[in-house]
């Protein structure tokens, strides 16, 4: 297995932080996010609502530029720091190098324009071609994402499509300029399971064909297990654990990840009782000094000197499987009582 470092990462995020000033104080939505992604790889960002996964993807797309949000840290795409780019220069990247698909395709598409015209427009922004040629590209693209009779369907409006077809059209629009990085923010959350399976298959196929790297933002660990190579687990705006998919499910290190996996009802085996994580996620307005997970964590008693309550742990760990937990530094072998 190749580690992302060895393959010269296409995308590297270093200490990304995003905060929003509000009337109630500063909301720290992302507090130190690190991520590396190799070409052709799929990384999943998992977390619960408010864990900062969507804000991270918005920062990557440069959607927080010219807003009140304060974004610090580096977002290196092929060595170029996107965070330092102006909005005007970012436009050359958006759609061409990075594209995004959203959870709800109906609100992400323009209701008054035919689907084909919207795909063609996305193509013409970055390619100097005639309208007619772009329209043909749109037809081909709709065909590639598995929409039957693409020529006729290009003239249809978004509301005439079903949920699954709309998501296919969104994917066509995002991939029409063959971007190097596709950010998919909860692409299947609004879909039914049978349609979700179709869309995940499609994403896998297209990735094999085009070699695009994908960041898949989701709350569903099942989806992650199906399509991702790498996983980043987020909690309270921090990356708490990063691993390959196989390692994360086989040997979760961070107590939050362990809790998350234990709290899910499983189809494979019926348990008598679920094991929820007690309590609620921290408020992003007033973050505690210690570990953000400390007040819900069942393992704080294993760490001496109340370190969990007073010091914020750093992301540490061996063999490309870091976890943000004091237990990691206690016994570097990782053989603590898990």
């Amino acid at each position: 297995m190749t580690t992302p470092e060895a393959a010269a990462p296409m995308l590297a995020i270093r200490d990304l932080r995003v905060s929003f000033p509000t009337d109630d104080g500063v909301v720290h939505a992302v507090n130190g996010m690190d991520l590396t992604l190799a070409r052709g790889e799929t990384v999943g960002i998992v977390g619960e609502s408010g864990s900062g996964k969507t804000v991270t993807s918005q920062a990557l797309m440069g959607l927080l530029k010219d807003t009140a949000a304060e974004v610090t840290g580096q977002i290196l795409l092929d060595g170029q720091d996107l965070n330092t780019l102006t909005e005007t220069r970012m436009r050359a990247y958006r759609g061409k190098k990075i594209a995004m698909i959203f959870q709800d395709p109906l609100s992400a598409m323009h209701p008054f324009y035919p689907v084909g015209a919207q795909i063609a427009e996305a193509y013409r922004v970055h390619n100097d071609v005639s309208k007619k040629a772009a329209a043909q590209v749109a037809v081909d693209m709709l065909g590639r994402v598995g929409i039957p009779d693409p020529k006729r369907r290009c003239a249809a409006y978004p509301h005439e499509f079903s949920g699954g077809m709309r998501q296919r059209a969104m994917i066509a629009m995002a991939l029409v300029c063959e971007p190097e990085l596709l950010i998919a923010d909860e692409p299947t959350t609004a879909l039914d399971v049978t349609v979700q399976a179709q869309i995940l298959d499609l994403l896998n196929e297209l990735q094999d064909e085009t070699g695009t790297s994908v960041i898949l933002v989701t709350h569903d660990l099942g989806v992650v297990a199906e399509v991702c190579h790498q996983v980043v687990v987020m909690y309270g705006g921090e990356c708490v654990e990063q691993a390959t998919v196989a390692k994360l499910f086989e040997d979760p290190r961070h107590p939050y990840t362990q809790g998350l996996l234990a709290s899910m009802p499983s189809l494979a085996q019926r348990s008598e009782r679920l094991n929820p994580i007690p309590g609620f996620p921290p408020s992003l307005l007033a973050l505690p000094n210690g570990c953000l997970f400390a007040d819900r964590c069942p393992k704080t008693h294993l760490v001496p000197d109340d370190a969990c309550g007073t010091r914020r742990p750093t992301l540490t760990g061996l063999d490309g499987h870091p976890s943000r937990c004091h237990l990691e530094t206690l016994q570097p072998t990782g053989e603590v009582a898990r």
């Binding site: 619960e48 399971v193 297990a225 709290s263 189809l267 007690p278 609620f280």
Partner: protein, 334 residues
């Protein structure tokens, strides 16, 4: 023993108006001849994809909608015949928990008075007074006494759902209809609420009709399961049987489409359904699942013709359940 709730051939058609050249047709058959029963103290899971009629079924049972035809009996009493005073009595015995706790709570009503509302509406004064009863309910669902005067916006999603559950429990109902009670919640909080619902059932003996689209939650929670598709029940049976040995092709496809949180899981047996749900205004004749059925295309013409005939009543709504399992096994192993 008669079941607590018995639903027979329940049907709800919403009329569609003809517009210009577009014919009105026969309306939308949101629920089309659905039958099931819920025993006291048991849980029935109603699962299906969006638009299959599971929420409409829940609303029909509450008589928030009037059925087109069919019967719903609670303890043998037909609910369509209840007059307004009897309906009030019925609502005391059957309560509902909604999917979105934010929109089912009044933002300007304190949590304490929201939980007290059913008691006041039914003019019931419990021993010890309304306030004491509300405090007791809040304690039972895991809310602190000082939450009494707070407003919904001060609570997280999981806590709001606890308020919704406390309100449903206020009248000591025999049956609670839970319409997607945990699908708006995060996984870690979802497990808290499921455990709470289970504790309540153990302590009070309440029965649940649990409407959900998340199959793993339903499997954990339900004693019996009804799988719906386009207004009809495709498969009905005890949970271990339906999940362990599903017989209807749709149930099999639905189960195999659920993403497994295990990268090493064997996915070779997966059944992929093509296309989308047909419009409920114009469902296929006969078996409603035939347009997406993975078995349908493999049948010999003589058997295939059967699919356009109405499906015989029974727990498995399939003409070919006898051969379906074998056929699906051979196609997916290729």
């Amino acid at each position: 023993m008669t079941p607590l709730l018995e639903v027979t051939d329940l049907t709800k058609h919403f009329p569609t108006r003809s517009r210009g050249f577009r014919p009105g047709g026969g309306g939308i058959k949101a629920v089309d001849g659905v039958s099931f029963s819920v025993d006291a103290g048991q849980t029935l899971g109603l699962v299906g994809e969006s638009g299959c009629g599971k929420s409409t079924t829940g609303r029909l049972l509450m008589r928030l909608l009037e059925p087109t035809s069919g019967s719903v009996r609670l303890d043998g009493r037909e609910i369509a015949e209840l007059r307004s005073s009897e309906l009030q009595e019925y609502r005391r015995r059957v309560q509902m928990v909604f999917q979105n706790p934010s929109s089912s709570l009044n933002p300007r009503q304190s949590v304490g008075s929201a939980i007290a509302a059913p008691l006041l509406a039914q003019r019931i004064t419990p021993a010890g007074g309304v306030k004491a009863k509300v405090r007791d309910l809040m304690d039972r669902v895991g809310l602190r006494p000082d939450h009494y005067n707070r407003f919904p916006h001060e609570f997280s999603g999981g806590q709001k759902q606890r308020v919704g559950i406390a309100r449903a429990l206020a009248l000591d109902p025999q049956l609670i209809i839970c319409d997607e009670p945990v699908s708006a919640l995060d996984v870690s909080v979802q497990a808290q609420v499921i455990n709470l619902l289970e504790d309540i059932q153990r302590d009070t003996g309440v029965a649940y009709l649990f409407i959900a689209h998340d199959l793993s939650v339903v499997q954990h929670f339900a004693d019996r399961i009804a799988v719906m598709y386009l207004g009809k029940i495709m498969e009905y049976g005890d949970t271990p049987r339906v999940f362990g040995a599903p017989e209807h092709p749709y149930t099999r496809a639905l189960l195999s489409a659920v993403p497994q949180p295990d990268p090493a899981a064997d996915r070779s047996g997966r059944i992929r359904l093509k296309g989308d749900l047909p419009s409920p205004a114009d469902p296929p004749r006969g078996c409603v699942f035939q347009s997406r059925c993975p078995v349908h295309t493999q049948l010999d013409p003589q058997r295939r013709r059967l699919c356009s005939e109405s499906v015989p009543s029974g727990d498995i709504a399939c003409h070919h359940a006898d051969v379906a399992a074998e056929m699906l096994a051979t196609t997916t192993s290729r």
